[in-house]
Amino acid sequence: MERDDLIVNDSYSINARHNEEDGRKIRKKLYAVTLLLTAITLVEVFMGVFFKRNGTFTWETIKLGFIVLTLVKAAYIVLVFMHLGDERRNLKYVILLPYALFIMYLIFIGLYEGLSVQELNNSFR
């Protein structure tokens, strides 16, 4: 059956092919990323178990570290596993920029409103 939603063009990923040789290289990269993601998860778990959650500078730094490590993991998943790193630059921006913009706004407004609610709660305590 002919599909009218596809325009076949050589530059489409639909026709992206590679041979056995390229495949070996790609798989090597994938295994390296797998090891990295597993290592990061293990480091996170051990940091979570061993460090005391005592509100000191150390724990606050570790919390920040968790967020940074999570973003690193997310970047590897999106760019390598989801192949966004191999796509055209304009597609990368179309996907990532609006999302980054909206989510940063959401976090900002969440923290701002959350602090305000906390203040109200405290003043009526």
Partner: protein, 344 residues
């Protein structure tokens, strides 16, 4: 490799008749769907952060709530969720290997790796079912105090701490006693006639129920203070303080009976004063679990199509890429849920 960009002039690219992004309509729409779905999860996690940030009572600590492993006793903080995370990452890897096999038009490879991905998905769903079941049943239950009590309790390092708990403070039972007490409360109605000697049918109920101690006569040997939460005092972490003997009896007698709770449901939970804690757990991990479930279903359908040679006839395996995007997205969301629910 997917979407290998080939040099095309800008005028050529945007002059119509072809995708300026060099990807097909289906993949483009999958990306747009994932962006909108990511906003949903982003909204849920942000809401979680706001509620937790504004909460007046201490929030439960992940490593104290999630420390059980199936079939094993003892404390293994975060090990089970770490295993779940690992399973999902590995199933993401097998999925990307299926995509790679598809680019080589290797039908056998696609079927094999997609099969492993489906298996990983089932393992994750099973783990989540166990996790939910454990969360709902709880590990011992707890109650609130009806009046202030002064007790001394032992900390992890063996030191004894004298403390006055205010009315409304949470105290938890140890799992073995808690489960026995829950059982006794559930069967209270059956024991009551026994106390009178004979039940309605004139049988000697005592003979049948002699093993059961009525809930009202049970007294714990030990109770736990700050079982799931953490309070800092004089540079010390006060958690899992154990009150034994006379101290446990004092706490037990100060119990406000209608506050006893075992595990968690949509109205109350033993882990936190805040019901939002359980509600967010159920909603966010449940919503994610539903994504995994539908992902497994889609994977199975596409797997069967691959086995039947549909993609071979079509001449390309782009469908594997599309469902791969969805499956990786599910993994991506779990990475964030893992950080914000369990680690921080």
């Amino acid at each position: 490799m997917a979407g290998h960009a080939q040099p095309i002039g800008k005028e050529d690219l945007w002059s119509g008749g072809k995708s300026p992004f060099s990807i097909s309509y289906g993949k483009m729409m999958m990306w747009y769907f994932l962006v909108s779905d990511a906003l949903t999860f982003g909204g849920l996690l942000t809401a979680y952060g706001v509620i937790r940030h504004g909460s007046a009572d201490p929030w439960p600590v992940g490593e104290q709530v999630f420390e059980a492993l199936p079939l094993l006793h003892g404390s293994y903080p975060l090990m089970y969720v770490a295993l779940m995370t690992f399973i999902l990452i590995i199933s993401s890897v097998t999925m990307v290997l299926a995509v790679e096999a598809g680019h080589r038009l290797d039908k056998k490879g696609v079927v094999k790796w997609l099969g492993y991905t489906i298996l990983g998905g089932f393992f994750f769903l099973g783990s989540q079912a166990w996790e939910w079941s454990h969360f709902i049943h709880g590990s011992g239950g707890g109650f609130q105090l009806g009046q202030p009590v002064t007790v001394s309790a032992a900390a992890d390092d063996g030191s004894t701490i004298e403390m006055t708990l205010p009315a409304g403070a949470w105290v938890h039972m140890e799992s073995e006693f808690g489960h026995a007490y829950e059982h006794a409360l559930e069967h209270e109605a059956e024991i009551l006639p026994a106390a009178a000697g004979q039940d309605a049918h004139g049988h000697d109920a005592h003979a049948e129920d002699h093993v059961m101690v009525p809930a009202s006569e049970m007294v714990p040997e030990a109770l736990v203070i700050n079982k799931y939460t953490l309070v800092h005092q004089d540079g010390k972490d006060l958690r899992k303080l154990k009150a034994t003997g006379e101290d446990a009896r004092k706490l037990w007698e100060a119990m406000e009976p209608n506050t006893v709770v075992f595990g968690a449901n949509l109205h109350k939970n033993e882990y936190a004063v805040q019901q939002q804690y359980a509600n967010f757990f159920f909603f966010v991990t449940g919503f994610h679990g539903f994504h995994v479930f539908s992902g497994v279903l889609i994977n199975i359908i596409v797997w069967l199509m691959a086995i039947r040679g549909v993609f071979e006839r079509r001449g390309h395996y782009e469908m594997i890429e599309k469902i791969g995007l969805y499956w990786h997205f599910v993994d991506l969301v779990w990475v964030f849920v893992f950080t914000f629910f369990y680690l921080i």
